[in-house]
């Protein structure tokens, strides 16, 4: 137990520090980085089943800038041409084939384009469910964007707009069809994207009141968002048996696609608060690296939509390193970028304050244009070691940008400033109550010298030292522990107390005699000083020859120490079990009629007597039978007398022999 105490304390310290950093509700998000790209190659490294999966993989590679394999492209293009030519393709297949074509830019001949366009136009006209609208309108928008056909317009765009709008609900969600009351947030995203497509394909202006009501629907939808403590905002999906993929990631992705495409085709703004857009970006950045291919695609596609959208572009403030060393003269670097890691517009970062530390004043960070980071280099002159929470604020150079970008008003970041802490003025002494200090030795923690002291149980041991930070202030670490280890490996641990400026501990051996189990001999002295922000150490200071009185009868014994530190985890000694000799048991069933021949003496003479005993009893019983049959009482009594004497003699011999053998067994 004593051995594990410092380790246990260190564990508590570490857990407390981690909890502090979370309890502050301050956590930093990082934009997309290299680890995402390599993870994408791993997640999507397999053959793709459907066009939908192919599109997801290709779009992810495209957004992240990852090189795809060449044979994947040719196989996909073949599949695309087959789907576009075939007349039995469903709307969904055509939609995804056109999406893949958008990424790969395959060769599509004009005839198939004509056929596709006419299929899609008839589908729009006859569509009744949301998915049919979505796929057909989406397909036409893709045809137009890929410039496969000129002059592509929807007939009766306003009518189509109204039909889609008819499926909406008052809480902002959308139904899948008029016959099915099931509604979801995912469907709302699809509907908004379809409506945006209708607006872009219409030849004339759509009625502004319709667009106005749609904007209201979007605001209603955003009242349904859920929030995490760190500022992430998302849409919680609905459970549905009929439609899969309605979890939070897919629903949030669908809404982001919907609002960004709607904002792109309408004038005026959507009046969505910037912090909600930033919250959506934080949600997807907070997912980390998803393991599922669909989640990966949803994350990357959402971030791509947010990267360049007309609502508000979220900017992320991140720090490449939150632990900086004052001794090495590290400078604090802060980076602001978009979600995919691209550059932000020109801006300044201000360190507003540090939470709970009034000494740090508000200052502006310098911009290093070569590395595109903001730098704070005045730290080592003013700030001491410790952990702080810095509060940063972003100020745009051009005030117009404030409307176009979404940033957090005050970003809180936990920072660790570490440094080399010097130990100074270290002295160890043995004190006597009468004579004062017997010997005082200076300790040099840098060197390798070990001190050697001697003391008896009437004296005291005193240790004193000071800790100084790089800026010259006294430092109080989380742990300052003194350990004394006896030759027999029995350990005793003491915490070194702090009196403001210095650390001091006095061990009074008179009171510690019983705690030390009356063990005299050589004790090793070891000092451990530890904290998260300093160069923690533990050093053997020296040895102490301790002279304690003899242990009385009833003194507690020291706990048994294992010979080898790790032998307590080795195999234990083998135990040989001693089994009782099994009882002599009668034959299995007690009701079986048989003769119990156990205990029949085996030696010759006793055996003869035992046999005669049984013969005698049998003779008496036979006599009784004859008595019943024929004899009279007096004859019987005469014969019985003779037999009885014989039987008594023989029985006595046999039974005493049995008794002596059984008593021999018992004493054995």
């Amino acid at each position: 137990m004593a051995r594990s105490l410092p380790g246990f304390l260190a564990l508590i310290v570490a857990v407390a520090l981690i909890c502090c950093s979370f309890a502050a509700a301050a956590s930093t998000f990082q934009p997309i980085s290299e680890s995402h790209r390599s993870a994408a190659l791993e997640t999507f490294d397999r053959s793709y089943g459907s066009l939908e999966e192919t599109y997801e993989a290709l779009q992810t590679f495209d957004v992240l800038g990852v090189e795809r394999k060449p044979d994947v492209g040719t196989a996909a293009c073949q599949s695309v041409s087959q789907t576009l030519v075939s007349s039995s393709s469903t709307l969904k297949d055509i939609f995804y084939a056109l999406k893949v074509n958008g990424v790969l830019k395959c060769e599509v001949d004009a005839d198939s384009v004509e056929g596709i366009v006419s299929t899609l136009q008839t589908a729009v006209g006859s569509a009744s469910s949301l998915l049919e609208f979505y796929h057909s309108i989406g397909g036409l928008v893709l045809v137009k964007n890929q410039a496969l056909k000129d002059d592509l317009y929807l007939a009766d765009a306003e009518g189509v707009f109204r039909s889609i709008k008819a499926l909406s609900q008052s809480d902002g969600r959308w139904r899948y069809s008029s016959s099915n009351p099931e509604s979801s947030t995912y469907a709302a995203g699809l509907a908004l994207e379809a409506l945006a497509g209708v607006i872009s394909l219409s030849s004339s202006e759509i009625d502004q009141s319709l667009i106005g009501t749609t904007k209201n629907d979007i605001l209603k939808l955003f009242e349904r968002v859920e929030k995490y403590d760190d500022g992430a905002v998302y849409f919680d999906g609905e459970e549905s048996d009929a439609h899969e993929n309605q979890g939070p990631i897919t629903s949030t992705w669908s809404v982001i696609r919907g609002i960004t495409s709607f904002a792109a085709v309408t004038s005026g703004n959507l009046n969505l608060p910037g912090e909600k857009i930033l919250g959506l970006a934080k949600f997807f950045l907070g997912v980390g690296i998803p393991g599922d291919a669909k989640d990966f695609f949803n994350q990357v596609d959402s971030l791509a939509c947010l990267e360049n959208n007309r609502v508000a572009i979220p900017l992320i403030l991140s720090l490449p390193a939150t632990v900086n060393s004052l001794t090495r003269k590290d400078t604090l670097k802060v980076k602001v970028s978009t979600v995919l890691g691209s550059d932000a517009p020109p801006l300044k970062i201000k360190l507003v304050r540090a939470k709970d530390t009034p000494a740090i004043e508000s200052q502006e960070l310098k911009f290093d244009s070569a590395n595109k980071v903001h730098v704070l280099d005045t730290l080592e002159k003013s700030v001491d070691v410790g952990n702080y929470i810095f509060v940063f604020e972003i100020v745009f150079n051009d005030p117009e940008h404030k409307k176009a970008y979404a940033v957090e008003s005050k970003t809180e970041v936990p920072i660790f400033l570490t440094g080399a802490v010097k130990v100074g003025n270290a002295k160890i002494a043995v004190l006597d109550s009468d004579l004062g200090s017997i010997e005082t030795q200076n300790l040099d923690f840098a060197g390798e010298n070990l001190v050697s002291l001697g003391a008896n149980h009437l004296q005291k041991l005193k240790l004193r030292f000071q800790l100084t930070t790089p800026l010259g202030h006294p430092f109080k670490p989380h742990q300052a522990i003194l350990k004394l280890t006896h030759e027999s490996k029995v350990e005793h641990v003491f915490v070194v107390g702090n009196t403001g400026k210095q650390f001091e501990i006095v061990l009074d051996f008179l009171g510690l005699v019983e705690k030390f189990y009356y063990l005299s001999g050589k004790y090793e002295i070891q000092l451990t000083v530890g904290d998260a922000v300093m160069n923690s150490f533990f050093r053997v200071i020296g040895h102490l020859d301790l002279d304690l009185p003899e242990a009385p009868e009833k003194a507690p014994r020291p706990p048994v120490q294992p010979a080898d530190v790790y032998s307590r985890y080795g195999p234990k000694a083998e135990i040989a079990h001693i089994f009782r000799a099994p009882e002599k048991r009668p034959p299995q069933e007690l009701l079986r009629l048989g003769v119990n021949l156990k205990n029949f003496p085996s030696a010759a003479a006793p055996a003869a007597f035992a046999a005669l005993f049984h013969v005698g009893i049998g003779a008496v019983l036979l006599l009784y039978v004859f008595f019943w049959l024929k004899l009279d009482l007096f004859t019987t009594l005469k014969i019985l007398g003779f037999l009885g004497v014989f039987l008594l003699f023989v029985g006595h011999r046999t039974l005493s022999h049995l008794a002596s053998t059984s008593s021999k067994v018992k004493s054995a």
Binding site: R585, L590, V620, Y624, F627, W628, G651, L655, L658, A659
Partner: protein
């Protein structure tokens, strides 16, 4: 509710009795079986008399008495042989057995005489 609890209690009682009995030594168990056999024989004789009639009555009496007497002597043997019995600690089991044999022989002589 009361009925089921008493049923449960009697069941628990029987269980505890059975488990306690299982711990007795085997020689005592043999004697117990012998006692049971003797009593059973007596019961069969009584039933036979009830069915057939009590003539001759002395035969019936001697038969029943021999069974009961044997049972009683076996019980006495069991008491004396039981190691947990403090009163008969100094009587060797072989001596008790010898007494048992002797008494049985005397009993059967009397029975044979009375049976006729």
């Amino acid at each position: 509710m009361g009925r089921s609890s008493t049923v449960k209690e009697t069941q628990a009682l029987f269980q505890s009795l059975r488990s306690a009995y299982a711990a007795t030594p085997n020689n005592l168990k043999i004697i117990d079986v012998f006692v049971g056999f003797a009593v059973l024989t007596a019961i069969i004789q009584v039933v036979y008399m009830a069915v057939v009639g009590s003539f001759p009555f002395n035969s019936f009496l001697s038969g029943v008495l021999s069974c009961i007497g044997t049972a009683v002597l076996a019980v006495c043997l069991r008491i004396q042989v039981n190691k947990d019995n403090k009163e008969f600690k100094d009587v060797a089991p072989e001596r008790a057995f010898a007494d048992f044999i002797l008494c049985n022989l005397v009993l059967h002589l009397v029975i044979m005489n009375f049976m006729g």
